[in-house]
């Protein structure tokens, strides 16, 4: 395909090239990751130094209170931290950036099925970010009803004053629209645009993860969209769908309806975020263990089963809402069922590494850490899935720790793995490995200290979202532990500067990467950087699976590209 001339605007801004859109999503996600990360630091400041002015930035941000975090501000910060990290940081990073970049390249396609829709998806996403960003500067501040925005806190009747909630709903609706455009694109592309020979069971597991995650998006984002429309009308037109109050004695509005709608989407959402991680981890483990992914088909099948199950377990977020015990048990049973396929592919990961020739590159270190933190996150999930223990642990810091182990730790570490791994193909240069390793160890250790201790806090009884936990006598002894977590959290935050330095330095002066620096077999590594618009000069024909490493039939090297026939194979 001939390279056609493009102006600056069509090449870098309103581009329809999936690789450029992927890069745009990467910068967009990294910006919000930074923003949400700062908010995490502020939350930790408050929990360790309750009532003291925030140094440096405090007076700038809140001159009215002399830089002290007030209860209102605290509510806004943790609401925005959750919202931003889930919807504007890790969604663009994994699904947006690497979904866009990897899917067409790894299945041998020239681009996404609907390139213009893809562009529209990014810019709608961008617009949603702008709306959310603006909401920070409202006179009453942004939304502050928690990232779940339960009514009545999120409704005008008995809720929090200000237009922050309205903008929150608007931006989330826009974000959902963008995600849906992406989902249509991803699903269609994988079904229609695979290169000849690329059967479903020859796709890299990354593509499997992205594909299944897009399907979940397509099925469940519309549900939250309906809920958000309800919430928007509550805030704008004064309807009372979710208000159980004086008027409700005649009307019968129901706050639980929102919780159901939210979690029908909300639970699949965590799988939307984690499915790409599972795919990336499976692929990277195989590449750096120089072994085929253990039980490839089983892993893919397990991911499909979990995709199915994830839609019918939302009730486990609502055990304490007075749900019928029978219903609670049913949800518990279904939720615990998920641990079976999860354990199977977890074992497959270990099987992939078992007796492999492990190469401890930076992406491999991050990938292996995902195996560790996801294991911990998954195991602690069992306590929250079980009704009896959840009643005690519900809404405690244990939930925060568990959630951060699965999402903040697993998804973030996998995002870093993906950044280090695909950077040479995205930008033509390899990130510095020594800096990367320091970044890894600082992140890995501090992240574990922070989140593990959070679980201990929750077990000891500290509730989440408390502005000043130490007004309760029984939490007072936990202050030193909170202080320790805060210190480690600051280290975790500072460690990320290394990644920023690494990226900037590499983009400016980094070593040019060879075509296939990791000696991987998937199709994107057969292309020279920069990959032209339209990707492949000739549509590749796929002969082998994605992980043919150390095949005994290979002579002078231990890997083979998917587009090369394996000599001597029957």
């Amino acid at each position: 395909m001939a390279e056609h001339k493009q102006s600056f605007i069509t090449k870098y801004i309103f581009s329809t090239d999936h690789k450029m859109i992927g890069r745009q999503f990467l910068w967009f996600g990294l910006f919000w990751l930074f923003w949400g990360g700062l908010q995490a630091m502020l939350i930790r400041w408050q929990l360790a130094f309750s009532g003291q002015a925030v140094p440096i930035v405090g007076k700038l941000l809140w001159p009215a209170s002399d830089g002290i975090i007030t209860p209102d501000i605290y509510n806004q910060i943790f609401t925005m931290h959750g919202t931003i990290m889930i919807f504007w940081a890790i969604t663009p990073l994994l699904t947006g950036a690497f979904g866009n970049f990897c899917i067409p390249l790894q299945i041998g396609a020239p681009d996404m099925a609907f390139p213009k829709l893809n562009m529209l998806s990014f810019w709608t996403f961008f617009l949603s970010g702008v709306v959310l960003f603006i909401s920070h500067f409202l006179p009453d501040g942004p939304a502050s009803a928690g990232w779940t925005s339960y009514p009545p806190l999120s409704t005008p009747v008995g809720g929090i004053p200000g237009q922050g909630q309205t903008l929150w709903v608007l931006s989330l609706t826009l974000m959902g629209t963008a995600v849906l455009m992406g989902a249509i694109n991803y699903v269609t592309t994988v079904i229609r645009y695979r290169a000849p020979g690329m059967g479903y069971f020859k796709m890299p597991l990354t593509v499997w993860g992205m594909w299944l995650s897009a399907m979940l998006n397509a099925l469940f984002v519309p549900i939250i969209a309906a809920g958000l429309v309800f919430l928007l009308l509550e805030n704008v037109f004064g309807t009372q769908f979710f208000v159980a109050g004086n008027k409700a004695t005649i009307e019968g509005g129901d706050p639980l309806l929102y919780q159901h709608v939210f979690w029908i989407f909300g639970h699949p959402e965590v799988y939307i975020l984690i499915l790409p991680v599972w795919g990336i981890v499976s692929d990277l483990l195989s590449t750096f263990s120089r072994k085929p992914a253990f039980g490839y088909k089983v892993t893919a099948t397990c991911m499909c089963i979990i995709t199915g199950l994830s839609g019918i377990v939302w009730g486990h977020h609502m055990y304490t809402t007075g749900m019928s015990p029978l219903l609670g048990k049913a949800f518990m049973f279904l939720t615990l069922l998920i641990s079976i396929p999860s354990s199977i592919f977890f074992l497959n990961w270990l099987g992939t590494m078992w007796r492999g020739a492990l190469r401890f590159t930076v992406p491999m270190l991050f990938t292996m850490s995902v195996v560790f933190v996801f294991g911990l996150g998954g195991l602690t999930g069992l306590y929250l899935a079980t009704v009896t223990s959840d009643i005690y642990l519900h809404d405690s810091m244990f939930v925060v720790g568990h959630f951060h182990y699965t999402l903040a730790a697993s998804v973030l570490m996998a995002s870093f793995a993906a950044i280090y791994y695909w950077f040479p193909k995205m930008f033509g240069r390899k990130l510095n490995s020594l800096l990367g390793k320091i970044h890894f160890w600082l992140t890995f250790v501090s992240l574990n200290v922070v989140f593990f201790n959070m679980m201990a806090l929750g077990y000891a009884g500290q509730h989440r979202r408390l502005f000043d936990p130490y007004v309760f006598d029984f939490i007072k002894p936990l202050q030193p532990m909170n202080f320790k977590i805060t210190m480690w959290a600051f280290l975790l935050g500072v460690a990320q500067v290394l990644l920023v330095i690494n990226i900037i330095w590499t983009l400016l002066k980094g070593k040019k990467a060879s075509k296939n620096p990791w000696e991987a077999g998937t199709l994107e590594w057969t292309l020279d950087y920069p990959i032209p618009h339209g990707n492949f000069k000739e549509t590749p024909t796929v002969y082998t699976g994605p992980h043919e490493y150390s095949n005994p039939l290979l002579k002078d090297r231990d890997w083979i590209s998917q587009s090369e026939p394996l000599e001597g194979a029957s």
Binding site: L180, I184, G227, V229, L233, F241, E251, D254
Partner: protein, 211 residues
């Protein structure tokens, strides 16, 4: 970049890329409607006040509207049939008829809204008879029932509007002779969307007006 490179014997058959995308969109959209409709139904089942069918909403008028929309589905099928036989005049004629039907549908809905929002003594009487006291007009904040009515019908109305715009775009291309018996994928995709909008209306009509 319209070439399709799927593997042979694809289990998803030979639907074109655009058609597959539209089917996915229809699934997504159907679920959105499902969310909105079920939201109202759940509140009603939970004991929210709900008037008897026909006490507030004008069933005969909307029944006519429903009939009209089903007729436009028919003209849409005729348009596809025409282009498959290379009958350019038939294609244009039927697309215009479909637009006209959609437009009348929207007008009647607009009349219905106007009647409710402007309010009248007759409406106030009707509302108090239905059990909504002290209301002179029928707007989203009147009751949950009203809000559910507006949320679903308005969402559907926006779909009809986008459908009309979509048909207008296809009509403009059809007038320039873009479609033929060899190339009618766009018309078929448009048909999918339009039939979906009709089908959903039948559900909306049933749930909001008749039950």
């Amino acid at each position: 970049m319209s070439q399709t490179m799927a593997v042979k014997n694809d289990p998803f058959g030979s639907a074109s890329t655009g058609k597959l995308g539209m089917w996915l969109f229809i699934i997504i959209d159907g679920l959105s409607f499902g969310g909105l409709l079920i939201g109202g139904v759940a509140l009603r089942a939970g004991g929210a006040f709900w008037p008897e069918p026909g006490q507030v909403l004008n069933i005969p008028l909307t029944a006519f509207n429903t009939f009209l929309l089903i007729c436009t589905s028919f003209t849409m099928v005729m348009a596809l049939n025409a282009v498959q036989k290379d009958d350019q005049k038939g294609l244009i004629k039927n697309l215009i008829l479909t637009i006209l039907g959609g437009f009348i549908f929207l007008s009647i809905q607009g009349y219905e809204y106007y009647h409710f929002i402007a309010g009248s003594e007759h409406l106030a009487e009707k509302l108090s008879h239905a059990g909504i006291a002290n209301a002179t007009n029928f707007i989203p904040s009147t009751s949950i029932y009203a809000a559910s009515f507006y949320i679903v019908t308005c969402f559907h109305g926006l779909h009809v509007l986008s459908g009309v715009i979509f048909i207008a775009c296809v009509l403009a291309a059809a007038m320039q002779g873009h479609y033929s018996s060899q190339n009618y994928d766009k018309v078929e995709i448009l048909g999918l969307f339009w039939h979906f909008v009709d089908l959903v209306w039948i559900l909306v009509f049933t749930v909001v007006y008749l039950i």
